[in-house]
Symmetry: C2
Subunit: 736 residues, 2 copies
């Protein structure tokens, strides 16, 4: 079909984002990396990080090749799969990996330069770190939109002689499957990176801080380079792949829902509904760029000025995107554009509220974290009990918020219609999807504020190891702390959008089943409903499918599915926690061995063997990431084969509800422990080295895998399970 001119805004935004990323990267590279010692340390970290990423991509490549072959066999051998899937799957994975790679490369070049710039002042440090973080943000959105635009153009020209209404449904559901590539890549990146970074972090802290009483990032600690490498592979590359996946997933699932919701509309309304989420994202790119340029401070700026500067950038982008969304929807003349715009607003508001709640429960400025610090007076056990209790209670606000956002975005988009007719459901679900798109549309800048945290963190490491002195370290710590505040909001958007996207994917799953059944019918399979009538999937609506598959809460398959979904979330977390525990154990033994065997190491007279620790983290991550990641792929396939569509939907809903809550619990408990420790380190309850400090270090160490391995991986798990179900819909239908 003919695309409106405005469509070209999407590739244009993509190219702009990538060009600006390139420019920021070049400018950053021109900065001085500091003394030879600083350069040496940065080189160590860069090499370690790249070496790990190569290993990770090797494992992931094998998984991708195997899966692509399976998809190809399903598609070409058994007609149980859309023929484009193997290719779409591969590009999704490739671009997701690329986004992580570029982000990490930038971060490893930037941290030394940030440390060096911090010698001149906070202001200079912020600029380099933030602009380098922006490289990642822009690469993610740029590559995401590129992948979307190119695939849309290819498929559109391929299906050009098909009836436009059918073509759009086919195109959007096909494109959805490249989300599975991105999800798979993201899961490996998050899990592998998360295990790597936390094995190193926990190992370095337990022996260095607790046993040998040396400060964080001290060059005498053999695990310190591995720890800094970990920040890059986990917090930068992992996060990049993760958010690439959320970004594309939300746009693609909303586009697919738009194709269904407006399938019966006159003229090209359907096409406009499909490209609406892409356009919102494209405009978001430009507004993000604007926001990035607004983040500027003068020489001699204070912390407060910096926080204000970041706030101006992100808030301006967010407010403008809200306004622009209404403009885009109005301009596209989409039915009920006002209502759909309100859906986006409710999504944005939910993101902000969840972010605020995260901030409240994890910042040392508020009671919950202060109480955890207080509990250190009665020892490590009460710190843990209090932290777990706080984390669990902290699930309340985010769940209530997301619940309200779901209801509002659904109802606004379908004109407050709870009748559950086919149209009301599909329009409502479109609203849920577009709320997620709205949340993520300013990812270019929000990810910049997220990614600059680990850069500042690494800059601190570099400053410490190259002996730049207290003041510089204080400045990098200040930059890091600043990042934590803005990152809280970022986290709110990440988890909120994950939940909304997962819901949109749930609906897309039913669409995909419909297509798979239609394909099966053309190949001679017949479906009989409960009343003994022949069921025609091509003509059936969403409610018809619900009835045909008996997807109600008295169906034991749905109930069993829900149990299995909740279990999948816990099992996955348990496996990743266990992996970190094992890997950290190995790291502790190695660090202890080096302290014991290498004479003069603690006096700073001998150099520790950093390489061995890097190797331990790399190997552990590489081995340990396989089982949990494969489980996430296998569980929905097996459930689909045994319990059918009803079981899969139960699984996805159970997994989503339990997984979301568990993810919030783990992230917040971890964040609160971290800051409770910082609060003691700042002098409360005896300060550094006191028994209270030791107790809070236990809390922080437990929190490490909570907040940086298991918690964030859950975000991906809940979406990946939906993605796998979508891609494997053909198999589920074949087993019926």
């Amino acid at each position: 079909m003919n695309l409106p001119v405005v469509f070209w805004l999407i590739p244009l935004a993509s190219v702009c984002a990538l060009m600006m990323a390139w420019l920021f990267f070049q400018n950053m590279m021109k900065e001085d990396e500091g003394s030879p010692r600083m350069k040496e340390i940065a080189l160590y970290i860069r090499r370690g990080a790249m070496a790990y990423l190569r290993q990770q991509y090797r494992v992931v490549l094998i998984v991708f090749v195997v899966l692509a072959i399976i998809f190809a066999i399903m598609a070409y051998g058994f007609n149980a799969q859309n023929p484009w899937v193997p290719f779409a799957f591969l590009t999704g994975g490739f671009f997701s990996g690329l986004a992580g790679f570029f982000g990490m490369k930038t971060a490893t070049y930037a941290s030394g330069r940030t440390a060096n710039a911090a010698r001149e002042g906070l202001h200079k440090g912020l600029k380099i770190a933030f602009r380098s973080g922006a490289v990642m943000g822009l690469v993610v959105v740029g590559l995401g939109l590129l992948d979307i635009a190119v695939w849309f153009l290819i498929l559109n020209s391929f299906y050009s002689d098909m009836d436009p209404h059918t073509a759009l449904i086919t195109i959007t559901t096909t494109m959805l499957t490249f989300g599975m590539g991105a999800s798979t890549q993201a899961l490996f990146a998050r899990v592998g990176g998360g295990i790597y970074t936390k094995a190193a972090d926990v190992g370095a802290d337990l022996v260095g801080k607790v046993e040998a009483d040396i400060p964080e990032d001290d060059p005498r600690n053999p695990a310190t380079i591995a720890d800094n490498v970990g920040d890059n592979v986990g917090d930068v590359a992992g996060m990049g792949a993760d958010l690439y996946e959320s970004y594309c997933g939300s746009i693609l699932s909303t586009a697919a829902l738009g194709a269904t919701a407006f399938a019966m509309s006159a003229d090209d309304m359907q096409l406009r509904a499909v490209i609406a989420p892409m356009l919102i994202a494209a405009v978001g790119v430009f507004l993000s760029l604007l926001g990035i340029f607004l983040v500027r401070t003068k020489d001699g700026a204070t912390m407060k000025d910096l926080l204000h500067a970041l706030g101006v950038g992100t808030n301006t982008s967010a407010i403008l995107i809200a306004v622009a969304t209404f403009g885009i929807l109005y301009w596209l003349q989409i039915d009920n554009w006002m209502g759909i715009g309100c859906s986006v607003l409710s999504g944005l508001a939910a993101g902000v509220i969840i972010g605020q709640a995260t901030e409240y429960y994890t910042s040392q400025s508020y009671k919950p974290t202060q109480r955890i610090a207080e509990a250190s007076q009665t020892g490590a056990a009460t710190v843990i009990i209090k932290g777990i209790g706080t984390g669990m209670i902290s699930t309340c606000v985010p769940v209530l918020t997301i619940s309200v956002a779901i209801m509002l975005s659904y109802l606004c988009a379908n004109g407050f219609d709870l009748s559950m007719s086919a149209t009301s459901i599909s329009r409502g679900l479109y609203g849920i999807g577009i709320a997620a798109v709205g949340m993520l549309s300013t990812l270019g800048i929000t990810l910049a504020t997220d990614a600059y945290g680990p850069i500042a963190d690494n800059a601190g490491g570099n400053a410490e190891m190259s002996g730049l002195g207290e003041e510089i370290r204080h400045r990098t710590d200040a930059l890091d702390a600043l990042g934590n505040t803005t990152a809280a909001t970022g986290k709110g958007f990440a988890i909120g959008s994950a939940a909304l996207t997962a819901l949109a994917l749930l609906a897309s799953y039913v669409e995909e089943i419909k297509l798979a059944m239609s394909r099966a019918v053309t190949h001679g399979q017949q479906f009989i409903d409960a009343a003994g009538q022949v069921f025609d999937p091509a003509k059936a609506t969403m409610p018809d499918f619900m009835n045909f598959f008996q997807v109600n809460l008295m169906n034991p398959r749905v109930l069993v599915g829900a149990f299995l979904g909740a279990m999948a979330a816990f099992l996955f977390c348990g496996l990743t926690m266990g992996a970190v525990g094992r890997a950290a154990g190995k790291m502790v033994s190695e660090v202890r061995r080096q302290f014991h065997e290498i004479k003069g190491i603690l006096e700073g007279k001998a150099t520790p063997d950093y390489g061995r620790c890097v190797e331990i983290s790399t190997k552990s991550a590489q081995h340990e990431m396989i089982l949990p990641s494969l489980l996430a792929i296998i569980i929905p396939i097996v459930v689909g084969m045994i319990l059918g569509v009803a079981g899969v939907l139960g699984l996805l809903v159970g997994g989503l509800a339990a997984g979301f809550t568990l993810a919030v619990f783990m992230a917040n408990a971890g964040g609160a422990w971290d800051n409770a420790k910082k609060s003691v380190e700042e002098g409360r309850f005896g300060g550094k080295g006191s028994p209270c400090h030791k107790a809070t270090i236990v809390g922080d160490t437990v929190g490490d895998p909570f907040k940086d391995t298991s918690g964030p991986s859950l975000n991906i798990l809940i979406k990946l399970m939906s993605m796998v179900s979508i891609v494997m819909a053909g198999l589920t239908v074949a087993c019926m």
Copy 2:
């Protein structure tokens, strides 16, 4: 209607159980309580326990009176409630409290006597402790069946001129509401008792064991009496109320499902289906008694002999009940008796498997717990990480088992029919309910093996405090360890039956909504379905209701409900964890104060002020139990009012799936930490007093509220939320 003669077996079993309980109690009382010191200690504990229970009942009484008044207003003022509910509710609560009271009274008299008997040998100690535990088991089943039989007789005579088919549905759904009384009582008992016992335990351990380096139960520790009182109020009274609730809940919900499933059957099949679960329970009482008498050993018996003796008792009862069930169902000539019998078998098998899995994940004889002990070499943090990881992974087998049990018991009972017709659903759900009844039918003996654990534990405390010497202490420890092994199976049955009962209650909820709607129709309310037709609740089947309320997984109300259900489970746990943390903090401060202010206390020259510690636990428990318990009652009511039936069903399913998994995680992590510590205490990794020991004590302390407060309370939460929804169905309908 005329009841068959066999019905009288139910009150007969009840009377037999209560008489035997009385006999065992009398025999136990005849035993010598030992030296004056032993008597004194037992008296302290008895007084503390009774004082606490009085306080708890006072709070609970207020809640009960308020709720009963609300129910009465709803029933008599607005016709939105069955008129029997206020009374049924009160008796359920009363009997549940009574069961806890009698069990605890017996336990507090028995522990001193067990300690004294252990001076003569293991054999004698086992007999007293076990028979005293049996008092609790028999009181629970006796009072449960009494309540059921009496209410059935009353309601049957009241509705004698109603058409028998309708009468049975009315009677069984009315009786179901006395389950809410039992649940409410159970929740307060579990939460209050759990907070009490763990505040004392954590406080005693943290200061006594860790800081002052004195052994457990040392009389120099001011919190030691409170700790022993706690075992009674939490592990005995709390567990009694809890299992009373499970026992009655499973029987009543199955009876209600039987009334619906066989409503269309010829002659009095329906009546037979209703009394089948009661009869299975009644026969279970006799078989439990048989099993209790089979538990006998000779003088000079070894540990292995004792374990064998307990095994003979419980296994014989379980095998005989399986056989007897087929006999009862055959004799009652119930349709598909063979299939329904198989449902019971699958429930029993699931209980055994979950028990075995619990044993595997928490016993020091197996790898998971050993690995947690190993992790102590790298400190407390890795112990916690490993324990949480293990606990989360341990959810896998129980969830898979319960999933298979759900499918099997459903399919066996309805002749492997997945068509989701009205009959196939109701027969299948009856199968799920009766599987739970089968699991709990031998509660008389399984509860005896559970309840004797805390008695042995307290006996150990008495032995330590009255200075009976190492050998006696070893014997009571052996008795305690023996209890842990059998208790694992007991836990499997408790949590498995909770899940199955909750599912049965889910179905009963829909029935209750049907009745409430029918009542509303007679008062002039009209219901219009999505197609604009008048909906007649009286004639509608289960699938009709699912359609009318759109209880499918694309309904945003269902999805939001599921989120809220998962959140409710986490929030509830968070609140109870927080409560234990706060209460334990107070206890720690008090014990430290006494150590500091009372001179000579650590040299054993001055007596600590035990009373203050008992008071702290009592007051904390009393205050802290209110908020979480009320939340459990309020959440389903509010969800019903705002999101309607679809939202409530989503809430219950989300809460059940997440709550069950969370409960298994918490119980197993707690159990594993406990035994990891024991394993170190037995000499591994440096033994008592080593850094590894300190690290495992942190784990054990964190595990205390996991396994004894939050975890077990979740069992009740998932059932109470269903019960509240059932009782409040009228309100939900009124808000439609």
